[in-house]
């Protein structure tokens, strides 16, 4: 096991990794920006070092600052969390070149999966179902229209260089295509420093179902079931659950096994998530693969009893999969997570500010990087806390989650809690009739 791990991240995920380090007896080394100096979990870490001003490019995204600090404090490994540098293959390479372990897959997998059309090609070559889509498209309007005709409308314009819903724009007919490509390209350049764009068939009301995979350094990969993350606003998840309601277990098991086989074939060597869309007729298609820990990993942990973060670290340190995972992994009950965001509950506009009151519910798992008096700044994403409820049934877990959200006392920023409650209490959600259009429908009703 590593003697120490530098956590190149902030907020709830950094706090989560500090906890995993404690479980494993590893020295945890946090970094923080000037804006984050008062985050309470920094005191829980064995060390905490300031690395720069609030804006992420000058602190959490500054690779040289992170690497220089890691060398200075003698960190044996770097955990990138999610977001920031977690899917940056160049960064992972630099970490390894400097003799430090990277808690994640080998850089070649980050690079392959980070490019969305290459990842689609790889999935298709290996026999995974893939939604109709194009290769990279140019700005030439004739070429664009021709490419679009091969898949038909409606379609989605998508950046090839990154995910997270950034720069994804729906197009319903030819007249909207050129403008959407231009706008998506600009957002992609800004978000990922890569302006490459492709087109993909837009499903009307698909479900987002993703498979958690776990691999060891020798490339043995298993899946630990799926999560349903269909409740989204602006293509970003707000409610996630394990397992997916209403999907036959034999279908899930067969697909999970197939995914694990494909990843074993290519030698994938740490944790990751294969995101799929499920159409109304039950057809699955590959969306993308995230080569990192996921924001919603907690629901999988709750139903399987597996500590995914500690497992990820142990696997990165070279332990074999059989030593890390129970054989065979099992699902117990149901878990639902809600993301509490600092944003207004009607239009989901950002609401930064100081948490003048911040009391979290007791007796339930709450993941947060904040405490009372902390500022939710404009520099970072609006996540205030994740709340994860486990229950014997989906209804019981949902009920617990709803009660916990009611018990939050947050003043100083607006939050999306009223919207989360509306969704959790809607008939469609209770019936398990989830799909990516659900939030819009429920909020409009």
């Amino acid at each position: 096991m590593f003697e120490s791990i530098l956590i190149a991240n902030r907020g709830a995920v950094a706090a989560r990794i500090v906890r995993a380090c404690k479980v494993l007896g590893v020295r945890s080394i946090c970094v923080y920006s000037e804006a984050d100096a008062d985050l309470p979990f920094l005191k829980e870490a064995d060390e905490a070092h300031e690395i720069g001003p609030g804006p992420a490019p000058q602190s959490y995204l500054d690779q040289e600052k992170v690497l220089a600090l890691a060398a200075k404090v003698g960190a044996r490994a770097i955990h990138p969390g999610y977001g920031f540098l977690s899917e940056n293959a160049d960064f992972a390479e630099k970490v390894i070149e400097r003799g430090i372990a990277f808690v994640g897959p080998s850089p070649r997998f980050i690079r392959a999966m980070g490019h969305k059309t290459r990842a689609r090609d790889l999935a298709a070559e290996r026999g995974l179902p893939v939604a109709p889509g194009t290769q990279l498209v140019s700005d030439n309007i004739d070429d664009l229209l021709a490419a679009a005709r091969t898949i038909g409308y409606p379609l989605m314009v998508k950046p090839a260089g990154g995910g997270g819903g950034i720069g994804m724009l729906p197009v319903h007919d030819e007249s909207q295509l050129a403008a959407a490509v231009e706008r998506s390209r600009s957002m992609a350049q800004r978000g990922f420093a890569n302006a490459e764009i492709y087109l993909e068939k837009l499903m009307r009301t698909p479900r987002h179902i993703e498979f958690q995979v776990v691999g060891d350094r020798a490339g043995n990969v298993r899946h630990v079931f799926e999560r349903d993350c269909s409740a989204q606003r602006r293509n970003q998840k707000i409610i996630e659950e394990a397992v997916a309601p209403g999907v036959p277990r034999d279908v899930i098991e067969a697909l999970g096994e197939k995914i694990a086989r494909v990843l074993t074939d290519i030698g994938y060597d740490n944790i990751g998530t294969v995101e799929m869309l499920m159409d109304a007729d039950g057809t699955f298609s590959f969306l993308e693969m995230n080569t990192r820990l996921q924001v919603e990993h907690g629901v999988t942990e709750e139903v399987t009893g597996i500590d995914l973060v500690a497992s990820q670290i142990r696997l990165a340190a070279g332990e074999p999969i059989d030593a890390v995972l129970p054989v065979p992994p099992k699902v117990s009950g149901h878990a639902v997570q809600a993301r509490v965001y600092a944003e207004d509950p009607k239009r989901f506009l950002p609401s930064p500010g100081v948490l003048s009151t911040f009391r979290v519910p007791e007796g339930i798992r709450v993941e947060t990087g904040y405490g009372e008096g902390c500022r939710i700044s404009t520099f970072y994403d609006p996540l205030v806390a994740k709340v994860i409820a486990h229950g014997a049934t989906r209804a019981a877990a949902t009920e617990r989650l709803s009660a916990a959200l009611d018990a939050f006392v947050i003043e100083g920023v607006k939050t999306n809690i009223p919207a989360l409650q509306t969704i959790l209490r809607s008939q469609a959600f209770r019936d398990g009739q989830v799909h990516t259009g659900l939030v819009g429908e429920v909020m409009a009703a």
């Binding site: 957002m187 602006r234 600092a342 944003e343 239009r347 506009l349 950002p350 609401s351 930064p352 500010g353 404009t378 520099f379 970072y380 994403d381 609006p382």
Partner: protein
């Protein structure tokens, strides 16, 4: 003719200004794009007219409710 103060709906920064004073704008046009918490928030013209003044500069920190432009409609 009436002067309309365009106010920011959010606290954040001005990312990109897409219009200039004296420019004609129509309903639905984007005056500028603001940024906060990793989100881009466009400032949209509600009634067409002429941009009289842009009261912020790119990179400025702005508060919710702050006037960012004046449009004569």
């Amino acid at each position: 003719m009436s002067r309309q103060e365009i106010k920011s709906e959010i606290t954040g920064t001005v990312w990109k200004i897409l219009t200039t004073p004296q420019q004609d704008v129509a309903e639905g046009d984007t005056l500028m794009i603001l940024e906060s918490m990793k989100m881009e928030i466009p400032v949209i013209v509600e009634d067409g007219g002429v941009v009289v003044e842009i009261t912020v500069a790119e990179g400025d920190a702005i508060q919710e409710g702050q006037v960012v432009a004046i449009v004569e409609t």
